[in-house]
């Protein structure tokens, strides 16, 4: 049996692999959102006064804001008072080492295919595991600490490195940036923090794994990555959630700062529960991701494979402030059944000789709607800015839609900006060619789709690329013919 067949075979039987739940005893805040809840979360996390103030400011700002209506997605109104804003798996005390972590929890991650026990790991990936709202374990912390790399949960960072957190938090995505960023700033519960000191090349992939477990909760995590001068880090993010009939809200914020000569590579394989085939349930994924290339010659690269979530609203962006800085965005967004995705990027050229590259591949099937929305902005003083954007859409089936909304705003004559987009379906001749060579239709489609997405998948670290390929096949399962 060929490899492709295996992949298809493997996934024909199941709809969403990670749809199970575990009965973890959880420590939850009461439903609803008000200042007391914000105080409750802050108190739970034993946070300093300044952070509570910061949260309250965000909450007050959020109250004055209105939910954005411009994305090309529709979903029933969210009742923000009907959500639980804090849920943490109950643990007697903060575990000092992995041996003290609740075995049930470890088993949960084991089931997800993520081993938190370091000695068992073959690959060098350090993982910060976040379940519901709280980081439960971070691996390889000590190895990293030897190099001066700080990689820990956000709440730990607040306690142990308050000066760093205070300096950088909210500097890329300000509290009032948008509705969901403000909400996140008010109620964020945990997340990952990562600091790479000057001149250090991080020897392993850093990774955060997010899992929503409890029902009726929103997940609000924050990731902050600070790469100091001349450093390099590759960061991975993965996520899954149980299969539930009600929709759950996930509103995260990711901030990246790259100093002079630093390089940050951020990869996401997003596989939140997408809802069933009638569009019932699923995660609302409203995420703000932004990186700033502060120093000269710095580089930020976003790679994302979006297969999950019932509604996605996400624009990982780069602010290219330093001269000669570079921004990259590679994305494969797959929607099936009744999924909706409105995703893309913003590249803001401020410094001289800045470069950006956008490659976005959308695949829509079933009744889904897939939109690319992007902006390339070249400021007046951004001499010799260069951008190339390519956004292709592949349509499978006649009931889905593909949309492209690129904004290109240029204020400098020396800019070279190109944008191209195509929309098409898989050619009958392509399928015929495969069939002629004895590859059946479904495998042929998997093959062609993989080829189509290859440019993006190649950007992913190896372990993720394999997972992503399988995910692609799974998401599109049964959408042919």
């Amino acid at each position: 049996m060929s490899n492709d067949d295996q992949i298809l075979e493997e996934f024909t039987s199941k709809e969403y692999e990670f749809g199970w739940t575990v009965d973890l005893e959880a420590d939850e805040a009461p439903k609803g959102l008000n200042e007391d809840i914000v105080r409750f979360i802050s108190a739970k996390k034993e946070e300093p006064e300044w952070l509570l103030e910061w949260r309250l400011d965000a909450f007050r700002a959020w109250q004055k804001m209105v939910e954005p209506q411009w994305p090309n997605v529709t979903y029933p109104e969210i009742d923000y008072q009907d959500l639980i804003y804090y849920s943490a798996p109950k643990q007697s005390a903060k575990p000092k080492s992995l041996d003290e972590v609740d075995p049930e929890l470890l088993a949960t991650f084991e089931k997800l295919g993520i081993s938190l026990t370091e000695q068992k790991r073959l690959t060098g990936v350090a993982v910060d595991a976040v379940i519901d709202s709280v980081s439960v374990a971070t691996t390889f912390k000590d190895t990293l600490a030897e190099l001066g790399i700080i990689f820990c949960s956000f709440s730990e960072a607040v306690k142990e490195h308050p000066e760093l957190v205070r300096k950088h938090m909210g500097s890329v995505v300000p509290v009032q940036d948008n509705y969901f960023a403000a909400l996140n700033s008010a109620v964020f519960s945990d997340g990952s923090f990562c600091y790479i000191p000057k001149g250090v090349r991080c020897p392993m992939e850093l990774s955060t794994y997010f899992r929503i477990n409890a029902a009726n909760t929103g997940q609000f995590e924050r990731t902050l990555i600070v790469a100091d001068e001349g450093s390099y880090v590759s960061y991975l993010e993965g996520c899954t959630a149980p299969q539930r009939d009600e929709n759950q809200l996930h509103a995260a914020v990711v901030e990246i700062k790259a100093a002079k000569d630093a390089e940050v590579k951020y990869s996401t394989v997003q596989n939140w529960y997408p809802g069933d085939k009638d569009g019932k349930g699923g995660i609302y994924n409203f995420v703000t991701k932004r990186g700033i290339c502060e120093g000269d010659n710095s580089k930020i690269s976003w790679t994302q494979v979006e297969t999950g979530s019932s509604v996605t609203w996400k624009y990982p962006s780069c602010i290219l402030k330093g001269d000669n800085s570079q921004g990259e965005f590679y994305s494969v967004a797959v929607t099936n059944n009744y999924q909706q995705a409105d995703t893309g990027t913003k590249m803001i050229h401020i410094g001289k000789n800045t470069k950006s590259r956008i490659v976005s591949k959308g695949i829509s099937a079933g009744h889904s709607q897939n939109s690319y929305r992007g902006q390339v902005q070249v400021m007046k003083r951004a001499e010799n800015a260069r951008n190339f954007s390519q956004c292709d859409s592949l349509l499978m089936g006649s009931l889905c839609g593909a949309h492209t909304f690129p904004y290109i705003d240029i204020e400098n004559q020396s800019a070279q900006v190109e944008h191209e987009a195509t929309t098409s379906k898989i050619g009958e001749d392509q399928i015929f060619y495969c069939q002629q060579r004895g590859i059946d239709e479904e495998s042929a489609v998997a093959l062609i789709v993989n080829g189509y997405a290859k440019e993006v998948l190649n950007q992913l670290p190896m372990e993720f690329a394999v997972e992503a390929q399988k995910l692609l096949a799974l998401t599109l399962e049964g959408s042919v013919g």
Binding site: W70, K380, S393, L395, M396, G397, S398, L399, C400, G401, A402, H403, T404, F405, P406, Y407, I408, D409, I410, E411, N412, Q413, S414, A415, Q416, V417, E418, H419, E420, A421, T422, T423, S424, K425
Partner: protein
């Protein structure tokens, strides 16, 4: 009640509308006037596009008009010499010429058109004599609800022409409509409404040219409703070379029936703020829509081209090519939308927008947009923004061509494919001449 955008315009329009109703004597009960009244009521409800309106994001026409144009001013006659009128005409163009001064049709200056299968009447005369028939066409393609400027135009519509081309008629010469505004002493605001129906298998070419003579500010608001019947072929040209302080908005609404072809050529060369909305609905199979656009801008000119092609049925094609050269402090905006509806399988839709920026004070905002609900389609769009190829410039300079001249040659080459698409030689030469003068400055 929240304040509507452009409230001050609405306030000054109220008096003008009353005066307009009075001037109609007796016609105010006609079916045509009911359409006007409804449009005015709808305008008063919606107001003008607010600053953050997505469709007017880069072109805040409401604010510019509020600041610059006195909407209370009454309509007036133009005082222009025959030389001045001749000067705006396209040299060597063999066409039926119709001249409109400050929006009003001038019988003396216009040709007496008599050709079998072609009828050209002024909007006013049709409104008087055949109100019910006009009411059946008037406002059918241009909806007032979603577009305040169409509502404004509809409310005050009395100028313009109604052109009917009968089945199987091939019109021998282009029909050239010259709209000339005079702003020597006073400001000017006028509306033009043209209704064109092209019968089955008929062929016609219509040209509109907008000019303003004088130093004061002006605002012209144009709406065209063009219906192209089965297997007909219609060509539409719009040349806009206004004065520096003229504000202009045009809404062209087109519907195409089976196997018809429609070509729009939109050339914008000067003005304070120019907005062109071109909206083509391909309502049946086998249609072809071509859109060419060229904007060569200098000074502080702001030109905004919005186009929509809506593919409703299978097997239709659309091609779009818009090119722009922005010099000085000018601003070019482009938004091209292609909609391919679920039924419109086997659609081919292509769109391309290319821009050259000559200075750092010039800006371009472009948004090529595709919205596709059908799977068996070929759609692509591309857009580029950049400066002249430095290698090419060097190549020419190395061969002894002065830098300015070399630049002009390259820009010419850049614009040439749009100009070639204009097909009619006299128009090509006219546009070439203006661009050459502009580029060699």
């Amino acid at each position: 009640m929240t304040k509507l955008a452009g409230q001050s315009i609405l306030d000054s329009l109220a008096g003008r509308f009353e005066a307009f109703e009075k001037s109609l004597n007796g016609q105010s009960k006609s079916a045509v006037h009911q359409v006007r009244k409804e449009a005015f009521a709808s305008l008063n409800q919606t107001g003008f596009p607010a600053a953050k309106h997505e469709e007017y994001k880069f072109t805040n026409l409401t604010k510019a008009l509020e600041k610059n144009i006195d909407f209370g001013a009454n309509e007036r006659e133009a005082s222009l010499s025959s030389d001045e009128i001749e000067s705006v005409k396209i040299a060597g163009l063999e066409a039926y010429t119709l001249v409109f001064l400050n929006g009003h049709f001038s019988t003396e200056l216009s040709d007496d058109v008599s050709e079998a299968g072609l009828s050209i009447e002024t909007f006013n005369s049709v409104a008087k004599e055949n109100a019910d028939e006009l009411a059946a066409q008037f406002g059918q393609l241009a909806s007032t609800e979603d577009n305040p400027f169409i509502a404004l135009n509809t409310a005050f519509s009395q100028n313009g022409v109604v052109i009917n081309v009968e089945h199987n008629s091939v019109i021998s010469k282009p029909i050239a409509l010259y709209f000339i505004g005079e702003t020597k002493k006073d400001q000017l605001f006028y509306n033009v409404r043209n209704i064109v129906s092209v019968g089955e298998m008929a062929q016609v070419t219509i040209l509109e040219k907008f000019d303003t003579i004088g130093g004061e500010k002006a605002f012209s608001n144009v709406v065209n409703e063009i219906s192209v019947a089965a297997a007909a072929n219609a060509k539409y040209f719009k040349l806009e070379d206004d004065a520096d302080n003229t504000y202009h908005i045009s809404n062209v609404k087109v519907t195409q029936a089976k196997d018809s072809t429609f070509t729009a050529n939109t050339i914008a060369l000067n003005g304070a703020m120019v907005r062109n909305n071109l909206d083509i609905r391909l309502e049946d199979q086998g249609c072809e829509a071509n859109m060419n656009g060229l904007y060569v801008l200098g000074g502080k000119t702001h030109v905004d081209n919005h186009t929509v092609v809506d593919h409703l049925m299978p097997n239709s094609n659309s091609n779009e090519l818009y090119k722009g050269i922005m010099d000085d402090k000018s601003k070019g905006v482009f938004n091209g939308k292609i909609f391919v509806r679920q039924d419109a399988q086997k659609t081919n839709a292509f769109q391309s927008n290319k821009n050259i920026l000559m200075t750092n004070d010039a800006t371009v905002n472009t948004k090529p947009q595709l919205e596709i609900w059908a799977d068996d389609v070929k759609c692509s769009h591309g857009c580029t923004t950049g400066q002249l190829d430095q290698d090419a410039l060097f190549y020419l300079q190395a061969r002894g061509i002065k830098k300015e001249k070399a630049r002009a040659i390259l820009l010419h080459a850049f614009a040439s494919d749009v100009i070639e698409n204009l097909e009619i030689e006299a128009i090509q030469e006219h546009v070439e001449k203006i661009i050459t003068e502009r580029l060699e400055k």
